[in-house]
């Protein structure tokens, strides 16, 4: 049964999903390097960029195209079991977009990035030289705890990235399913006709970008929409 809307090659990942993915790759690497080389001023700026990205991705998971939406790919244990057994959906049709098992990885990665960036907003070094933009709202001791968690959190990111890369390799080698090209081009060709996932109109993209931008602006301003008068002539030491 082939419907009119079904075709073998589809637009799988929309441009915002792909840009989010690859900019995140660069940012995580950049955040790592700036920490290791002790360029904490830049680390904090990149952290704000990460805040914007991860906030956008969460909003896009509600507002975005079909394959971007959490509701379209987050599934329960039954769907995961069916996928593990057949590599397909419970009804036997091919999975288009994140599969039910991979969904856990997506949620895990986006979740840990959100937690990590949230911890970083309150973090500080023990000497009180570098501060996350919201550090002034927590005590020194609380900030120290959150900073330790921020440092520990990176290990979880490394772990999930390793799982992510391991899965990509497994799919490429064992299942002959290359996951990277669609994440670059957005297109994927299936062995059988599948339905083209619904896209998202530009106004939804504008809303997601605007909301993420507003939050990032507010955080970057130290929790203000209108920056308080700057008393320190050069607080950015």
């Amino acid at each position: 049964m082939i419907c009119m809307t079904e075709t073998k090659t589809i637009r799988l990942w929309d441009l915002p999903v792909r840009l989010f993915h690859w900019i995140t790759v660069l940012l995580v690497a950049g955040l790592w390097v700036t920490h290791v080389t002790d360029h904490m001023g830049l680390h904090i700026k990149l952290g704000l960029a990460m805040l914007f990205l991860v906030t956008f991705r969460i909003l896009w998971g509600v507002l975005g195209s079909e394959t971007a939406r959490f509701a379209s790919f987050v599934r329960g244990p039954a769907a995961i079991r069916a996928y593990l057994a057949s590599g397909r959906k419970a009804d036997g049709s091919p999975v288009v977009g994140h599969n039910p098992l991979g969904a856990l990885s997506v949620i895990g990665l986006i979740g840990i990035l959100a937690v990590q960036v949230g911890l970083g907003l309150f973090a500080s070094d023990t000497d009180g030289i570098y501060y996350g933009p919201l550090n002034q709202y927590v005590s020194y001791d609380r900030a120290e705890l959150l900073t330790h968690l921020h440092e520990f959190g990176f290990n979880l990111i490394l772990l999930l990235v390793a799982v992510h890369l391991g899965a990509i390799t497994y799919y490429a080698v064992k299942k002959k399913d290359r996951l990277i090209p669609p994440m670059v081009t957005g297109k994927k060709t299936y062995a059988e006709p599948v339905e083209q996932p619904r896209g998202a109109p530009l106004w939804r993209l504008a809303i997601a970008l605007l909301l993420a931008g507003i939050l990032t602006y507010w955080v970057g301003n130290g929790g203000h929409f209108i920056a308080p008068p700057k008393v320190t002539a050069d607080a950015g030491y």
């Binding site: 070094d125 023990t126 009180g128 501060y131 020194y140 308080p228 008393v231 320190t232 050069d234 030491y237």
Partner: protein, 150 residues
């Protein structure tokens, strides 16, 4: 009388030796605590400035804490408390190999700390803010050369 003063002298000497002989690990821990207290004072000060309505009394109190410790820094690094001694030791070997550099960094910090305290004491928050920036620069300058990363 002479005997009494000799006993006092011997006790004083003994006490001095006891202080000098403080276990290196304890010295490391003590200075770590001192630096944390300065870090806390820096954080509270910076937070107050960032609020847009700096609390002059709080800033003055924290400036006094930092200034009261600043002069003591060279004494926190006796020979034998270098890398590998104790836990939480972030001192680099350069503190002892580049003695002049470390002394200068400590002196710069001390003079910036005093400058900040003087500005905070006047209650002129714009001047205090500027002095805080200079102080932060001297913290950072010294840490870059003489402190390992956390």
């Amino acid at each position: 009388m002479r005997k009494f003063s000799m006993i006092v002298g011997a006790l004083a000497l003994g006490a001095a030796v006891a202080v000098q002989a403080a276990a290196p690990a304890d010295v490391v821990e003590a200075r770590h605590k001192e630096y944390k207290e300065m870090g806390k004072a820096m954080k509270e000060t910076a937070g107050s400035f960032k609020s847009g309505a700096p609390d002059a009394a709080l800033i003055k109190a924290n400036a006094a804490i930092i200034a009261s410790k600043a002069d003591k820094i060279p004494g926190w690094f006796p020979v034998g408390t270098g890398p590998g001694v104790g836990t939480k030791n972030e001192a680099k070997a350069e503190i002892w190999t580049d003695k002049a550099g470390f002394a200068k960094a400590a002196a710069d910090f001390s003079s910036a700390a005093k400058g900040f305290k003087a500005a905070a004491d006047t209650g002129d928050m714009a001047a205090a803010g500027k002095a805080l920036g200079a102080l932060g620069g001297t913290c950072k300058g010294c840490h870059e050369k003489f402190k390992t990363k956390d």
